[in-house]
């Protein structure tokens, strides 16, 4: 496992939105989930996670709710709003465009 890659600017929002699109998760779980799914390549720094969460909340894309974790502790769970779902679609689309384009350039002769 190499050094965790820096996230392409702006992709953290996409990752967070995607990660909580199935069910609400707390911040810790979001970071863990991204790490696991990406085979430990993507490590979300705490220093960027909280500002990103707050930013998304301010944009109205995610909504925070306090509820109990499996261990019975109160934690802040983040879930997608309707606007967040639309935003996720938009970001996915533009990510696809971008990555396809980068691929084309990289693979070209």
């Amino acid at each position: 496992m190499g050094k965790p890659s820096d996230l392409v600017q702006g992709t953290l929002d996409l990752l967070i939105l995607k990660t909580i699109s199935l069910e609400p998760k707390h911040g810790w779980a979001i970071a863990k989930r991204i790490q696991q799914i990406s085979n430990e390549v993507l490590q979300v720094q705490q220093g960027s996670l909280y500002p990103a969460l707050h930013r998304l909340e301010q944009q109205g894309w995610i909504r925070a709710k306090w509820s109990e974790t499996d261990t019975g502790r109160q934690a802040k769970f983040y879930g997608l709003t309707a606007a967040g779902r639309a935003q996720l679609e938009r970001e996915k689309e533009s990510w696809n465009r971008l990555s396809t384009a980068i691929n084309l350039v990289v693979e070209a002769g």
Binding site: G47, P51, E57
Partner: protein, 887 residues
Amino acid sequence: MRWLEQFRMAVLMLFRRKSETARLNDELQFHLEQQIAENRSNGLGMDEARSAALRTFGNPTLLRDQARSTWSWNWLEICLRDIRYGARTLARSPGFAIIAILVMALGIGATTSLFTIARAVLLKPLPFREPNKLVMIYEHFRSATAGDGFNVVSPHDFRDWREQTHGFEDMAAWRNYGFNLTSEHDELPEVVRAAGGSWNLFSVLGVQPVLGRAFTPREDQPGANHVVLLSWSLFQRRFGGDASILGKPIRLDTNSYTVVGVLPRWFTYPEPRVQLWVPYAQTFTTDEYAAHDQHQSHVVARLRTGVSASIVTKEVSALQYQLYQANASKPVAEDAVFRPMIDDLVQDVKTPLIVLLCAVGCMLLIACLNVSNLLVARSAARRKEVAVRGALGGSRLTLIREQMTESMLICAVGGLLGLVISILATSWFANNWQGLPRAETIGVDGSVLVFSIGLVFLTALLAGLLPAISATGSSVLTALQESSRGIGGSASRAVLRKILLAVEVALTVTLLISAGLLFKSFLHLRTSDLGCVTDQVLTIKYGLPEKQYDTREKVAAFHESLLQQVRNLSGVRAAALVSTPPGGGYDGDDVFTIPERPSDKFNLQYDAIYRTADPEYFSALQIPLIRGRFFADQERLTRDHYVIISKQLASQFFSGENPLGKHLKVAWGSKPEDFEIIGVVGDTLYDVTQPSKAMMYFPILSGIPSQTSGATIVVRTSGDPLALSLPVQKQVAALDPALPVYEVFTMQQILGNSTASQSFSATLVLAFAGLSLLLAAIGLYGVLSYLVTQRMTEIGIRIALGAQKFEVLRLILLDGLRPVVIGSLIGLAGGAIAGAFMRSILYGTSPLDPLVFSTMIGGLLLTAVAACALPALRAVRIEPIQVLRTE
């Protein structure tokens, strides 16, 4: 609607900041616990797991700050923190804070208020359609004796201009007029100021009557059907705003006029006192309307789109020169000029307004420098703290921001107070500034708010930036060394303070000199000689309606019996009639030739103000007879063609000759008449702010056109002149109950009225200058006490080594007074420049008046010495032992 949601969130966050911070801590804590748990499950011990978790997390405070920085109110919190910090610092020296805030409040308030007025009066567009295209046209004469001048226009010239020029869309004329307004229902008669306007005047201006219609071309003829337009205020006041007045008759000078329209409420052109309008041509007789000598009209023209001003100027000039040549025997000027309507309206107040605006600007700047100076002193005391904080990693920007917050706080609170002051001051100015044109447009609005907010930031910057930069600039080491030694080593800051002080002094001197010049010319005006007695004289005006008093005999009989009755009142020492008393205004002039010099032709060089008077007028007002004689009693009615001239006229047109027995040929109407000069009397001024002009007096009952029916009765009394005003008015009413009197004034009041505007601006500038002097004294005192404190040790050592008290005193005084002297020298130059700018509003005073200059410099130096003396004496009393012990 997303922004709405975002805004809702932002506002929510604003109110939930505390609880949100707590929740954020909670969240972080939870995540920390999770990390610890994970570390433990990887086999680490409790302590190890905790410290590893903390390492992964990094600095929790920083994390928190980073997270919070996404909240949109972060800057607000920083601001609030800065403000709290600034307020705490200020609260530690409340005296300084209160003075600084008051000074700023006064400065910002006065500046805002004058800006409001200047903007309304000088800059706001006129309320007419495309006001930039409106110009006023005047006849322009060049005279070897009287200098160049503008002249109002005769109806004949106006018609020629209108018909024969092409550069104007249209051209209209108006003239001042007056009526006795009586009513059908025995209401009190009143004298109303009116204007005669040509039928197209309202369309040239772009104004529609709100009720009814404007005049038609057919009504704008001499002798046409009488019609009248009412101003909104007369319509409301006299006719209760009842629209049924349209088509009904009202009585003006006993003639019946049909009301055809009402003008809009905002229409106050050419001034608010004009209450009604009649057609222009109807204010003339047929003869007058056809004449070139009735210079009474103001001409308003609208430039055609795309026509340049220079072309139109040439066109009008050329036409006027033709008229001049074609009418050589008539008083026609050889040239014509125009100027923009707005300049024409405000020309008299432009300079005073700019002077006042500069004066308050100066005062505000002085206030800023003062606060700045005090802040420099304050920052010196806090240098150690600032330097240490700087060394511990406080960024310089943060430190500067903190320092700035203090001046920002002072200026913001001052600005808030200042806004209140300016609202009060603006309405006070608008009501008390006599003769201020367009006063009705003055008001505090959004742009004024923006101006004062801008002013707050500007002053905060001015006052705060220098001290802040200088306070944060030095290295820790020097700061600590200096403050531990307690010696005035911060030479750069002392120099900075001296420069600030010199600038402050320079501004103050400039302001003081300007104020002195204005005040001296005001004193000159107040004490200036109108050329007659002004104590114990009452003047009352009345006008006899021509329809009722249609023969000279009837007019004479009225005047005669009124004078008789008034002379019989107790307390009356003399009573006489004149068309317009000294100081009562220009009221018309005319051109003449001297038949004894056959080559003369009518030319505006031969021009004098005319008055009509009865025989006793000169003795009643104690106007001296220089040669010849006054009118005789029997010459009052017979129109014997006698004239009395003023000394000025004699010296101007008969220098080295005896004028008695010679003649003036005056162009009354279309046919000139000869008048024999029988006397020369002393000069009187028509306006105390104007130089004396040549004057000619005709007998009041001789039937000189338009000068017979209106008269002013002047009454010299043995007691309080105003006590006689009611008895005299009763006599008028006894003779003719329908006859209103107006303008009841004492001569002293006339004098006061004509200097009101000058005295107003002089008093204001004087007040600003006094305040500035006070500010400069405070600044001076502050700087010097600081310098003395800094040099305590040095002075103590000097005294210990045997320096004489006198030497120490001299040292301190010289040190303090050097910037004052430098500043004064700069201020002298500033005063000279200001004087040159104000030349047009100075009377009886040279712009370089040595008395004013020396008094003001002297006053400032005295103040400076006084401000220096206190700290200097403190320095002298230093006990060397004590100083060295505290070391």
